[in-house]
Subunit: 468 residues, 3 copies
């Protein structure tokens, strides 16, 4: 950030040509690429009527749609309402939080369908999509929403679209390495979504460091109503997380188990979050920042292991620990990250996705390493870890080692990718806001006149009751 | 509106006898009619335990409940939260938006169960209902919610109930003509719900034209928080629209396909809406009105074709176009409709449901007309268009023609019905608000004292920080 | 409440050690008890892969997960968003409403899994859990949320946790008596959840009577936006109630039927609520308190009978009556309960859960008593009331008698339990707020600065348009 950016100098945040150009060109590219590559998968294609007879499928209910669509819709709500509203806590950035999240996610899911499709659903020259692809696209975008949390309020919509383009690409590569090359299990994405997303976002925000950000300090807080809106996001993330962690697990017991483990972990996490929120505050009062965020850490932290035989009490233990780690992180770590490491993390994603994501990867590695045929049953054991084909001879402890390797790969990809993308976003062409106009909707949005004017004040101030 | 309505003269908006009378009498009528006509369908009746054995149904999971209930609940959320909150954008009409929507929808679904039941589920003197009937009743009410958007803030609850009674009736007739007589496909209701609902509502609001409506101009805008509430509605409509368009499609691949097509169309629509919202505004800023509404046009516009082999890229194209058409409509068309045609369209339903609904009808006609056995498979082709019985010999191009006829019929029904109902609503007995009290909850609701008084202002104004 | 509590004297509401201690100790206890007792049920265990072959289950879709998970998620939303937001109507208690509800529910579901598990899912020394247990745990906590409504704003979070511990325990005992000993049907919990929860909560608030509560009268009302947030809760409860009442019904027609009956009852209830809300107010205006609450009474009142052959018109009648009873209760009964019986019922749970719960129990008893093989079919009759084993010879009229006994038992348990727990909560060690700081988030929460300061008032007041 050169001489041109003397403090207080207005930046060019004019979006009129830049944003439409990027949106339209990229959407045209999507149409062309979808036209060339994307077709319906067999269970969504009208030919299924014939195919199901050939495949001896006796009932329409066997269509994958009925196994996964309810979970898909829950995940969909988490991405658009969950993340969008959770980030609404800032007093004057509600439009940006929910609107830009909407924009980047709507673009991201299209690009993710392509990227993940090329890696995982590419058959005879076409990407064949079904409901599982939609879930995976939402998942991929989830990692972008995580990263968005770190740079919330400090970037233009064009920057966010650029970041989405690159992050989705890197996500798909990382996911391919983990799931296909390392043969790692990560159904709820502790590693691929949360660890990768968080450290990617933190690296980006480090590179976009704004030394004079205190100029907009007055806008970084919440107000009463914005905190209530944020709780909408929190609760939908919390309630639907069991669907998130079970959405792409194997049919049957694995989905069932993943939901139960996540339910338990999240419940425990609420208790320890409340405990430490009160404990770490001199007056013993609860802090909405913790309740809005740390209560969710338990869902992140069983993202890898939820579909395994973690057991309900194992889940409670993980949730117990993560509520503490996350809350402590908000109180002690976030300020240090900013002052020492120059990492300005608007939403505290390091506490909600970073550390819990790492814990989730480790818990997954351990849970895999200690798996036995006794606990899973002979067939269940093979099915749970997909120890078939060339992985027929892999042992649990080796699987645990590969799981651990998955964490490392995700971190490396996040740091390297984040550095690259951060560098690109630093170019002075994307229309990011000046330091003093960060966290302010007014830069990119038509904001209606203030509430107080006309309507509310019509009656005032004469008829105010004399308050005690 | 005669001499009695000199500007500024207070109208009689007293609801105390009118509203209770209508609610109670009509609800009693519902009870009587339900008592005479409505019974459980076979899959909801306790006899199913025996019947399923006779019908050789091997598992309870084959009950239609499990195919459709998750989609039903999503549709239900769209009608009550989606429409209710979307219309909350007005600064002082939140109670009316969500409350009157609640009222008319709760009455409408009952009347729709009867009307649609007589046309479609009438067997041996009884209407036999199941989960599909509940979805269809919600759909029918959806068209009333659409029309409500045009007259939002300008009508009394009694007027809304009267409109609901008539519109549900006309909807059922129109639906019967399209689905049964013309044998048209319209699972997501581009024609029956959106085209019909929008042009019906626009005709009604034309007839209820208020030349002096600028007297309440100051209340026609939004405030910051009301825009955030409206985004709750927008997002739930957007997220659950795949469920809407697939809810009553055939079991299996058709439901699966409809969800995917809608997902794609909506994603593309967001990008072009954002692009044109910025492009058409001098300062290049995004306008919440567009984001709240035009992003949904893609769902409307694949309402007919989503269950067909539209393909994902076809859906992207439709969404791409509709985001543009709808946003352009808000900027250029809505003001013209009001100034030239005297159509005062509070929510801009012409842009969100009218034009996209027409596009949806056309896209459906084209998609049907170009269908081939090659694309659908021999059996899938017959199943998709139900070319059985007396329609065994109908060709795709003929089907396309009938689809197009369905658009025309829906338009004619909307204009004629809207004119009739508008005339009825113009009678000076329903307690509608005066021009200067439109868009104001205070007329029909007990509104709590203003926020500023007592609590918030306790600390003020001495301790305000000196803002820069 | 002794001499120490002279009016105006500050109480010790310091939570720093009390709340963390309770949260952490109890959560550790949960972990230990889960470790000893809780394991995955057969359909969530990895052994299912083998077991399903032994049990001749042909498809993964037969897993109970797919029958119940969508309903579970709806119920989950009702508990956390439904109740949490419904109670947000108070102008300055939004954090407490949603946050404390979150806390007590998160603890309660864990304790309920254990308590209900010991009574209902205890096999060879272990509690085996599946999705049905999760639903039942949510149900149990639902009764605590009901009771919370009576004491909202007047209790500390520690008191709420203590109440939850006891109420969940008593709920499980009462439920065991009803379902197992009396062999009563109550799938939607008119008796076990609503009657028990309401009268338990009313007894507790009676014992915690605060004669000087008018000191915080100014905070007991709502403001415009808090009423809109509350409508989020109302609508989610209203929309998902069909899932609530059908969630644990038998697979197939019973679930299907329960959803339809509840849908009908709720629709009718909205109409009569609106009618009486207008009728009972001098100016004929609608009151948000009624719309937010009484519209839900129809769901409560078919909680027992929804899965029976109540029939759609029967449901309409029940909803019709309950909308009236509940609204009349808000207008006439609540003030009398406070002035005469010293029952301070913040949310009016007597009108929403108490009376409708009783009606629900009675309607259930009657519906059971008049059941015939003709109406249910021979097999359906046996299945609906589980007239097997030692209940093989029970007749419908006897069943009706036992159903009625279930109401009485629930009431007795509620009064006795409420008296006990109220006495415990009255101990001066739990940190409850003083009379003048009730209904005020500031006591237990870090509350952000007021909205008016800095941001909103930046532009004001010079540029206010001259309002007419």
């Amino acid at each position: 950030r050169g001489a041109a950016e003397a403090p207080g100098m207005a930046k060019n945040t004019y979006m009129r040509w830049r944003l439409p150009l990027v949106c339209l060109l990229w959407e045209v590219a999507m149409i062309v690429l979808f036209g060339v590559f994307v077709r319906f998968g067999p269970e969504a294609d009208a030919h299924w009527e014939e195919e199901k007879k050939e495949m001896n499928v006796t009932s329409d209910i066997e269509n994958d749609f009925y196994f996964r669509y309810p979970s898909f819709q829950d995940v969909h709500v988490m991405i658009f309402v969950g993340f969008g509203f959770l980030m609404m806590f800032l007093k004057r950035y509600g439009f940006g939080a929910v609107g830009f999240n909407f924009l980047l996610a709507a673009f991201g899911i299209q690009w993710a369908l392509l990227m993940q499709g090329w890696f995982h659903s590419f058959k005879t020259g076409k990407i064949l999509i079904g409901v599982e692809n939609l879930i995976n696209a939402d998942f991929c975008v989830g990692s972008v929403c995580v990263a968005f949390g770190a740079i919330l309020g400090k970037t233009s919509p064009v920057q966010l679209l650029v970041m989405t383009l690159f992050q989705v690409t890197l996500f798909a590569v990382n996911e391919y390495i983990l799931l296909n090359l390392l043969h790692v299990k990560d159904a709820g994405g502790s590693m691929t979504i949360h660890t990768f997303g968080a450290y990617f976002g933190l690296t980006v925000t480090r590179i976009l460091y704004r030394p004079n950000l205190e100029q907009s300090k007055d806008k970084q807080g919440s107000v009463y109503h914005s905190d209530l809106f944020a709780m909408v996001g929190t609760l939908y993330l919390w309630m639907y997380w069991p669907s998130f962690n079970s959405a792409i697990s194997e049919h049957g017991d694995a989905q069932h188990r993943a939901a139960i483990n996540t339910y338990c972990s999240l419940a425990a996490c609420v208790l320890t979050t409340m405990a430490f929120s009160s404990l770490l505050q001199k007056k013993g009062k609860l802090d909405m920042v913790h309740i809005q965020n740390a209560t969710l850490a338990g869902g992140v932290a069983v993202g890898t292991s939820a579909e395994m035989m973690l057991t309900p009490y194992g889940s409670l233990i993980v949730g117990f620990i993560c509520g503490i780690v996350s809350t402590v992180g908000y109180v002690y770590l976030t300020p240090v990250l900013e002052s020492r490491l120059h990492i300005q993390d608007t939403c505290g994603i390091h506490n909600l996705h970073g550390m819990p994501g790492l814990i989730g990867g480790i818990v997954g590695a351990i849970t895999a390493a200690v798996a036995t045929e006794d606990v899973y049953g002979k067939e269940g054991f093979i099915k749970a870890f997909d120890f078939t084909g060339s992985y027929k001879t892999r042992t649990p402890s080796v699987q645990g080692g590969f799981q651990a390797a998955g964490i490392v790969v995700s971190l490396v990809m996040a740091f390297a990718g984040g550095a690259l993308v951060g560098g690109i976003l630093k170019l002075p062409i994307w229309g990011d806001p000046a330091d003093e106009t960060c966290f302010e909707d007014d830069i990119y949005w038509e904001v209606p006149e203030d509430e107080e004017s006309d309507v509310y004040h019509m009656h005032s101030p004469g008829d105010k009751p004399a308050s005690p």
